[in-house]
């Protein structure tokens, strides 16, 4: 595999072909095409006419932009309302999830108290517990309280913190030097002030990361929303798409792809705009060898 060294005097084209990284690029580009193709296919279908879609001779790119599928999609499901509902749930949820998780993580990272280790072990254990085990009893409790077909069951639990976020932030807080809070304590600051004035600002990148994770989780969740929401006016984007998908009769591929594309735009935009937070998040989470 030392071709790049032995062929140094050869023709540049030969050198290029034999160079190891050329082959890696070729493999990676081929893989990238496979990764992107479904998205391109979705977008191109959404812009095609009916006859282009079912043409036995595959038309990869449509003749001109055909926006009728988008118009149709909006007639079938109120996409913007569903997206708005989802954003409402996500924002209310993230606010609680991020700040409460941070507060709990601060408690674990910076204090000694009776039972701390036991509580932390229980927290770790719940991370292994699939949501599905408690799903039905939790549903029954909420329906006893008359709070199904309501966003409360989707939002309220977030205000008690999330085990994996607490775990992640605890490890992050432990890397902070102790001097910060010690001098603040001497100046008479309360622990709550130290948390809000020192830890929260310092942890901003980590908080943004878990906020993004929480947003993705809410945006992509189907099962939880399916269980609790029945009223079509309260549908989230996932429920709206699922109901569109299961409409009986002829499958309207064009409008379905248009709706799917619109539903994916926020997620793709976040990924492109904030990818460094995802990369950093994995580094910070300490999931290493």
């Amino acid at each position: 595999m030392t071709t790049s060294h032995t062929n140094q005097n050869n023709h540049p084209l030969k050198r290029f072909i034999l160079h190891k990284s050329t082959w890696i690029h070729i493999a990676l580009i081929l893989g990238s095409v496979i990764m992107i193709l479904p998205f391109i296919w979705m977008i191109s279908t959404s812009l095609k006419t009916e006859s282009e879609i079912i043409n036995p001779q595959m038309v990869f790119f449509p003749q001109g932009f055909h926006i009728a599928n988008y118009v149709r999609a909006f007639q079938i499901i109120p996409i913007f309302r569903y997206m708005g509902n989802t954003v409402l749930i996500a924002v209310l949820k993230i606010f609680g999830e991020v700040f409460v998780s941070a507060a709990v993580a601060y408690g674990f990272a910076r204090f000694q108290f009776k039972g701390k280790n036991v509580i932390f072990m229980v927290l770790l254990a719940t991370m292994m517990l699939p949501y599905e085990v408690t799903m039905i009893p939790t549903f029954i409790i909420w329906s006893f309280l008359g709070l199904t077909d309501n966003y409360t069951p989707l939002i309220l639990p977030a205000y008690f913190g999330s085990a994996s976020f607490i775990f992640f932030l605890k490890m992050y807080f432990e890397t902070f030097p102790k001097d910060y809070e010690e001098s603040a304590l001497i100046d008479g600051a309360t622990h709550f002030q130290i948390f809000t004035k020192i830890f929260i600002p310092l942890a901003k990148p980590a908080l943004i990361t878990i906020g993004l994770w929480a947003f993705m989780g809410t945006w992509n969740d189907l099962l939880g929303q399916l269980i609790y929401i029945n009223d079509p006016n309260k549908y989230t984007i996932q429920l709206g798409l699922a109901s569109f998908n299961s409409l009986s009769g002829e499958i309207l591929w064009g409008p379905l792809m248009a709706a799917s594309f619109i539903a994916l735009i926020p997620i793709i935009a976040i990924l492109l705009y904030a990818q460094k937070y995802f990369v950093e998040g994995v580094k910070m989470s300490g999931i290493k060898g």
């Binding site: 699939p130 622990h191 997620i267 990924l271 990818q275 995802f278 990369v279």
Partner: protein, 286 residues
Amino acid sequence: MKKRKSAGIYFVLPWVIGFILFTLLPMIAAVFISFTDWSIVGSNTQWIGLANYREIFQAEQFWHALWITFRYAIIAIPLVIVTSFTVSVMLSKNIRHVGIYRVIYYMPAIVSGVAVSIVFRWILDPNNGLINFMLSWLGINGPNWLYDPEWVLPSYLIMAVWGAGGGILTYLSALKDVPTSLYESAEMDGANQFQKTWYITVPMMTPIIFYNLIIGIISAFRKFTDAYVLGGAGGEGEFYMVYLYEQAFAHYKMGYATALAWILFIVIMFLTVIVNVSKKFWVHTA
């Protein structure tokens, strides 16, 4: 110091309350509910002991759903691990434009949900789908994918491999931590690229592979969205969680479904323990 002691518990308290309300109580309730014939619509709930469990173990549909899920897990997990590991090794080779590749490979993993399932339903369409078009260029008459019981599993595997990039961020960050001195000394001993990967990179990566294996098992058994949206001919798309969901929310057999949830939990725990025990045979500890 005394003040410190009392303050900590207040910060942790919200989680403890949440744990009691949303985990502990439901779990205790779940044990009892699984021994009843509870249905959310009717009244008159009866204590039926182990009848739900007995019924489950006699239900062909249960074994079918468990088998579908298990079969998917056992093929998809190694496929996904090998794919994401290979891509990560290539991305770690100091090549140009790594950032772009990373986003491209990571995107399918993060963009999930119903929209992606619908897109795959269309891509796998037997008549006008992208995959069968491309196969026809090669002169191959593509299968009916989700409409043919034999081809439902391969359809799900295609989606799994497409979304394999989820692991690359963890692999990449661990690949950076492999000491270069190991490769240098191997090079001096005359090791080639393949040998270096197999004898150094792979063993050094086993802790991350282990981590991704556990995550893979849990998420395979929890698979819901794809299966709910896509289904599959001959009940071949009936994954465990779809079965559970239907029992609970289409047939309102809450007791039965809760028993199913316990069985799911035990299966996942059992597999996790097995993998953990196997750890000492193959996971490299520094």
